[in-house]
Amino acid sequence: VRIAVTPDRIVGVVALVFAAVAPAILSAYWVGALLTQMMFLGIVAASLIFLSAYGGMVSLAQVAIYGIAGFVLGNATTTGNTKGMNLGWNPWLGVVVGIAIAVAVGLLFGALASRSVGIYFLMITLTYSVIANLFFGQVTSVSGFGGISGIPTPGIVGSPDAHPNRLYYISFVTALLIYAALRYIVRTPFGLTLQGLRDDPIRMASLGYNVVLHRTIAFGFSALVAAIGGVLFVWWNAHIDPASIDLTATIDVLVIAVIGGLYRLEGAWLGALFFVIINNYSQRIGFIGPRFHTLIGAIFLVIVLVSPGGLIGLWERAVDLFSGRRRDPLDRTPIELGQAEPSV
């Protein structure tokens, strides 16, 4: 089998090689703080891009689900926190239970929201997200405003401070596996059906497909991906509190996905890298200082106004320009499409 050499693939291979050798060439701070963060934020953003690109559902509940996995993991594995359940379980058991509960909640969320699409779906999932934030802020038996601290990692991961490369490589491999799994799923009959539902739910329903069930399963699957991102976040941060999943955090992941393009999975990590670097270095620019969110909001606004395909869209335009290819004017990004049908 001959594999065609395209600009996308060249860049992809270079990025992978770079990511694999990054600990050898970059400082421990870059690897431990920035690139690891990029990996798990990219995973959460990928769960959103998967839903939006292949299911036509722009969800704002991904951060809530990521937080639920993180809070369950924190409650299950810690001891000695003033708030929370302090169960002191094995870290791996905490991971399994955390992901399982997050996916269960994701399926419930999905089942409730799946009869709506487009802007309605966005609004409904936003209410989930804000309610989850308020829940963890108010219910002191699982968190309270202080959150859960000192969350342990399994032995193989070790302390992220002492061994930043271990968590980095674990996040990197996890991200790769998730990317591969998502690419695989969208080619399965399930994935093709999902794309059919995105394009014409009424026709698919009349062909006998169960629209709500497929959407719910897709949402549950994206919850699994987001929950894995939540576990990595908690390992990295050793702490989680309601501010980790507040409206700002929810919108940050949306910003990452939109900067990435919202229609190609690779965009998730590209957007995350961009976000993490801006977040880290903008503070050094005198007139911006602590006003990172004003800057990222302005960037987000410009992207939505000028290049709805995000950075990936800019890249594709550049490739088209050099290769002389013309794109179909009807080939529009999800952001530019209106949603005709509010519900099925």
């Binding site: 487009g118 409904i124 409206l247 939505v304 952001i335």
Partner: protein
């Protein structure tokens, strides 16, 4: 293709094999379950809530303590008034233009801050706890309230004309634009107004207790003022939408934008008017909310949540739906906070979710929602 996925949907298949009697039984079971969700809490509040033991509540059942029951009802209704003021602006904009204004919460907070700063400029900074109502005259509240409302109305107009006018119909893009604006606004408000919670002071005229003449209850006048403002706004909106020419154009525009435009009516002007009014209501809501519950970073998220919940359960774009939605939300949040067992009151936020979940399960478009 995997053939199993191309089978008729399970629900359809199952139904095809059911007899009419079985279907009826299923339907009855469904309604019973739904009824249980509503009836059980009502029974709990009316008769069952104890005052002692493991599940002790603060007040006990309504039969046991009718006075606090009445207070909770009035609390719920007055809170609903404020929810309605804020959410009616949201639903007005959505109903006509299909624009989900995600900056509605940020507009709320900014309107509140404008009024707060103006009030402090007029009266002085007061103590570390801010001003007290005895220092504030009616003018010192009404003028800032009008100013906050006007500033947000102008802001909404600018946002609509600059960013939303040229991409009508791309509703996701418009929602993302308003999200971007809300990020910037929230961050700038944090920079300029700080992270400390502050209150707009009610005027002394409002800040007192009145006798409700029900079970001898002395009730805060401010909450009744909120309710009066909400009812007034509801009536004005109703008259405006049902009895005036602009309202008629707006209602026609909700149904068929293209046809209204083809009839030679300037629909862009109508859009601008609706956006100004909708934003003004967010600003006014922010002033009232800032006097009632205070202003702080993060409050914008809460009020965006309340607006979303109200329109999701009431049905988007429906004014009557917003009123019903606000009432349901106000009563649910107040009753769950007052009648959950004392050790569990912090779970009351769950009931907001349950309310949304139950309505969505039965009516995905909300109680008064219609397909676009």
């Amino acid at each position: 293709m995997d053939s199993s996925l191309r089978q008729p949907a399970p629900a359809l298949k199952r139904r095809a094999h059911l007899t009419v009697a079985q279907l009826r039984a299923l339907r009855i079971a469904g309604w019973t379950l739904l009824g249980g969700v509503f009836v059980l809490p009502v029974l709990w509040v009316l008769f069952m809530a104890p005052t002692t033991g493991k599940f002790a509540t603060t007040f006990g059942s309504a039969v046991h303590d009718p006075k606090d029951f009445v207070i909770t009802v009035v609390n719920g209704v007055t809170a609903a008034g404020l929810y309605f003021v804020v959410a009616s602006g949201f639903t007005l904009i959505f109903g006509l233009m299909r624009v989900v204004n995600m900056a509605h919460g940020a507009f709320f907070l900014f309107g509140g801050y404008v009024a707060l700063r103006l009030q402090r400029n007029m009266v002085g900074e007061g103590s570390v706890f801010g001003l007290t109502s005895s220092q504030v005259s009616l003018t010192n509240w009404v003028v800032p309230a009008l100013a906050g409302t006007a500033v947000i109305a102008g802001m909404g107009l600018v946002m609509q004309q600059l960013f939303l006018r040229w991409n009508q119909g791309q509703d996701l893009r418009q929602a993302l634009i308003t999200i971007a604006i809300s990020i910037i606004l929230a961050d700038q408000m944090l920079a300029h107004f700080g992270g400390v919670a502050e209150d707009i002071a009610w005027p002394g005229t409002f800040d007192k207790f009145v006798n409700l003449h029900v079970a001898g209850i002395q009730y805060t006048l401010t909450r009744l003022v909120i309710l009066a403002i909400a009812v007034g706004i509801g009536l004005l909106l109703w008259v405006w939408l049902k009895r005036t020419r602009t309202g008629m154009v707006i209602r026609a525009g909700v149904d068929d934008r293209a046809m209204v435009s083809a009839l030679g009516i300037n629909i862009q002007l109508t859009f601008a008017i609706a956006f100004v009014v909708g934003s003004a209501l967010a600003g006014l809501g922010g002033v009232i909310g800032g006097s009632f519950a205070g202003l702080a970073p993060g409050v914008d998220a809460n009020w965006l949540l309340y607006s979303l919940v109200v329109v999701i359960i009431g049905g988007m774009g429906s004014l009557g739906g917003a009123a019903i939605g606000a009432l349901l939300l106000g009563l649910t949040s107040n009753f769950s906070a007052a009648y959950l067992p004392s050790d569990y009151t912090y779970y009351s936020i769950i009931f907001t979710f349950v309310l949304v979940a139950v309505v969505l399960a039965v009516r995905p478009l909300g109680l008064f929602g219609r397909p676009a």
